[in-house]
């Protein structure tokens, strides 16, 4: 039933001494005491708990680690909602396997911005000797390597990694493995590994197929083959046939703790919408752009052309005229544009350039001065970010940028500068993922993503375990623009700032949501219709998977 392996280390050592025994009895007793300390007397306990120098895990984190090891047998999808400490859960699993000698060589694949954070946390909180990957030799020189997925999938690193055996591979932000045709997915699929942890708060974003692809990495066939998965579980891309059945199929490989069920003491969250009135010139520009988009939308819809630039432009113009300039510039150069549209764009471009004041930026600066504490300003756009930084500095407010494009070291540097020197961190969406900024409790959403999950990701940077103060969120919205509707929809109707958010990902996907919003804005005849359509949309979203399940049962 099992092999017995004999270690002959002691016999060899004795032979080296010519079978002559010597040594002090006191040291012998002490060594036995040390051996007892590292002896695991039970399969089930989490032995690492008494060996964690700088972390006191919460009950749900301990339970999760135990479940991963004892019930899921070390291949699992950790899909807790944002802010419940998935990193701690993964750290516990890594540490437990290491103290039991089941893992020696481990690879932690994370976004570039999180390499140093993961390395530091493993070392400081878990006393795991982890190294941030630096060069080609890191893979073989160190047992526990933290590396960015983007570096790892490039040669020569990829080949080196694929030639090694890993006792454990952890992939953070694992929603980046949702597509099985990407090099990310292929890499993880090809690595030879004993245990595998996939960590993400959003196992499904747009399509149920995504969770199928994640599960395939853990245990192929768990959800059947692609055809049986579709016939058994998929009603349409985003709706499971029987949520309960899908959930139980996932249960053997997935752990998902929810904020509302965790009974954790999260600090209070205060959300406030700040409504602003644009200046006449800004309003004129807004209307000019919106009218242009409306007409282009009809034309593009009838000619089957992409609506994406229009969505982008509509969202940018809500952010700032600066944000819209690059897209306007690009559209001006579009050879398919007719001469009238071209002329109108030229006019809009000139208007955008000559706007004399910036209501939203001024309001932000006033708010920053008023708060007089550390705060993060989130924007979706690089151009807005640059402009905000420039204006903040002009007002003698120390501000630092943070965005996805920064190299790992720079991200870390910016985080430290923000913690110790600057008052404001101006971050773009891409920079928001995974980084922990609990030392700050104020967030200004300069513009809002048209995607509730991404808003939650932003807030999750500060409103998470470890935050000791109440968190204040300010959503800036300009009156009589689409933004006013967006803020109302996201903040009040969907109640995304409560706990429903975790369930949204199953019922609706990000891209579909954005498209539906644009359609609502552009196809509605008047404000009244916009409001009515948004009401319908929010009601649909409020139907959680549980209610959908109950409704089906009644049928």
């Amino acid at each position: 039933m099992y092999d017995i392996q004999i270690h002959d280390h002691l016999r060899t050592k004795l032979r080296e001494r010519g079978d002559a025994v010597s040594g002090r009895w006191g040291l012998f007793l002490l060594a036995q005491e040390a051996e007892q300390e590292s002896t695991m007397v039970s399969f089930d306990d989490l032995a690492c708990l008494k060996l964690l120098p700088n972390v006191l895990p919460y009950t749900h984190q301990i339970e999760t680690a135990k479940r991963v090891i004892n019930e899921l047998h070390g291949r699992a999808l950790l899909a807790d909602e944002v802010g419940l400490g998935k990193t701690i859960e993964a750290g516990l699993v890594i540490k437990e396997y290491m103290v039991r000698g089941l893992v020696k060589k481990a690879l932690i694949l994370v976004p570039a911005s999180l390499v140093l954070q993961w390395t530091r946390e493993l070392n400081e909180k878990f006393a795991v000797n982890a190294f941030a990957q630096r060069n080609e030799w890191s893979w073989t020189n160190y047992d526990v390597v933290v590396a960015s997925m983007d570096t790892t999938k490039r040669e020569p690193h990829r080949t080196t990694v694929l030639h090694q055996d890993y006792d454990l591979v952890v992939v953070d932000e694992a929603h980046k493995l949702k597509n099985n045709r990407t090099s990310n997915w292929q890499l993880v699929n090809q690595i030879r590994k004993k245990y595998l942890l996939l960590v993400t708060a959003t196992p499904v974003q747009n399509d149920l197929k995504e969770v199928y692809n994640l599960i395939h990495l853990l245990r192929p066939g768990q959800l059947g083959n692609p055809a049986t998965f579709t016939s058994t579980h998929v009603q349409d891309k985003r709706t499971p046939k029987d949520p309960q059945a899908l959930r139980s199929a996932l249960n053997t490989l997935m752990v998902r703790n929810r904020r509302k069920e965790s009974h954790l003491d999260f600090t209070e969250r205060h959300v406030e919408a700040i409504l602003l009135r644009l200046s006449n010139e800004e309003m004129e520009l807004y209307h000019a752009v919106s009218d242009f988009i409306k007409e282009e939308y009809d034309y593009r819809a009838s000619h089957h052309r992409s609506l994406l630039p229009l969505i982008t432009l509509q969202r940018e113009i809500c952010s700032s005229s600066y944000a819209a300039l690059p897209t306007l510039e690009k559209m001006r150069k579009d050879p398919h544009l007719n001469s009238i549209a071209h002329e109108r764009l030229e006019h809009i471009y000139e208007m955008a350039q000559s706007v004399p004041g910036y209501t939203k930026v001024n309001q932000t600066i006033d708010l920053v001065k008023q708060i007089s504490d550390k705060l993060i300003v989130f924007t979706e756009y690089r151009a807005t970010q640059d402009f905000l930084l420039y204006m903040l500095r002009r007002s003698n407010i120390a501000a630092v940028p943070f965005r996805g494009g920064f190299k790992r070291g720079k991200k870390d540097w910016m985080k430290d500068l923000f913690e110790h020197r600057a008052q404001v961190l101006v971050a773009t969406e891409a920079g928001g993922e995974g980084i922990n900024l609990q030392f700050c409790n104020q967030v200004i959403n300069f513009d809002l993503p048209w995607n509730p999950m991404r808003v939650e990701q932003r807030i999750g940077r500060v409103h998470r375990l470890g935050q000791t103060r109440p968190v204040y969120i300010y959503n800036l919205a300009t009156k009589e623009t689409i933004e006013e509707h967006i803020v109302q929809l996201l903040q009040e109707k969907i109640q995304m700032f409560e706990s429903v958010i975790g369930e949204l990902d199953v019922i609706l996907g990000a891209k579909a949501f954005e498209k539906e919003l644009l359609q609502t804005f552009l196809e509605s005849k008047d404000e009244e219709e916009i409001r009515a359509r948004l009401n319908v949309l929010s009601k649909r979203v409020q139907r959680t998977p549980a209610t959908i399940g109950r409704e089906r049962e009644k049928q």
Binding site: G23, A34, F43
Partner: protein, 267 residues
């Protein structure tokens, strides 16, 4: 609160490895490390390579280890050099792991005597048995071999009079000179350990074997239903190898300590 168990362990360890203990707070140990111990407790191989290549005599290294969260008093710490920061020792901390490792290394072999008139040679061996599948647990076993009777028996470490043994025999003790064939001792030991393992609850291995078999079968069935079977053959083999690697039950037997004991015949 002072971690008395760790404190006692460390104090005893430093005394036994001939480190010099200086005055310190009640909840702290101030230690001057001998070179060899310093090498084992601090991770600086390049420093030692450099020192030894140049044939230099490095200044002695000191540690100021804290076993409580209290702030060390300036009375004791003022004499420390800038580089010697007080250091909190906790069960999982790097320093404690190093101390345990070093203790295991120094305590691998020993000779000890009972305080009796007539002493017979015995061999004590401690063995770690690890039961491993995708999970793991250990068991420590102790065996005593009698050179006189050429027999080996299992003993209960926790109920055994180990504190009645000393590094030196009492004056006037008579030691019966008997040769010891260590190959024979190890051979008898392994046969006893194997026998002992067989007596243990085997359900962990049975369950693991069944799970392994089930997962392999399901995996084959899954790939059988795929249209592009050939293209997926490499992936299938890799997954099978991973499952086998993770779930195959095995037992590791690791004898880790041996002592030559001179005991009275009825011990």
């Amino acid at each position: 609160m002072k971690d008395q168990k760790l404190y006692n362990f460390c104090k005893q360890y430093f005394t036994l490895v001939n480190a010099t203990l200086h005055h310190a707070d009640d909840f702290a140990l101030s230690v001057e490390l001998p070179k060899e111990v310093d090498k084992e407790l601090t991770d600086r191989p390049f420093y030692w390579m450099w020192v030894e290549t140049l044939g230099e005599t490095p200044p002695p290294n000191f540690l100021y280890l804290l076993f409580d969260d209290l702030t060390p008093s300036p009375e004791w710490t003022s004499v420390l050099k800038d580089t010697q920061k007080p250091e909190r020792v906790l069960p999982g901390s790097y320093r404690m792991q190093k101390i345990y490792q070093s203790a295991k290394l120094h305590g691998m072999f020993a000779v000890a005597y009972e305080r009796k008139a007539d002493l017979w040679p015995h061999v004590l061996i401690n063995v770690k048995v690890s039961y491993i599948s995708d999970r793991q647990k250990d068991e420590l076993l102790s065996y005593l071999f009698s050179a006189h009777h050429q027999t080996i028996k299992k003993i209960e470490w926790n109920h055994w009079e180990k504190n009645l043994l000393y590094d030196e025999p009492q004056s006037g003790s008579q030691i019966v000179p008997l040769p010891i064939n260590y190959d024979l001792v190890f051979s008898k030991l392994l046969s006893e350990v194997t026998h002992e393992i067989e007596k243990r609850d085997q359900s962990w291995a049975r369950e693991s074997s069944q799970r392994l078999k089930k997962e392999l079968t399901e995996l084959d069935q899954y790939y059988e239903t795929m249209e592009n079977k050939e293209a997926l053959a490499a992936e299938q083999q890799l997954r099978k190898a991973e499952i086998t690697w993770r779930m195959s039950p095995r037992v590791e037997v690791n004898p880790y300590q041996l002592a030559l004991l001179y005991l009275s015949e009825n011990t």
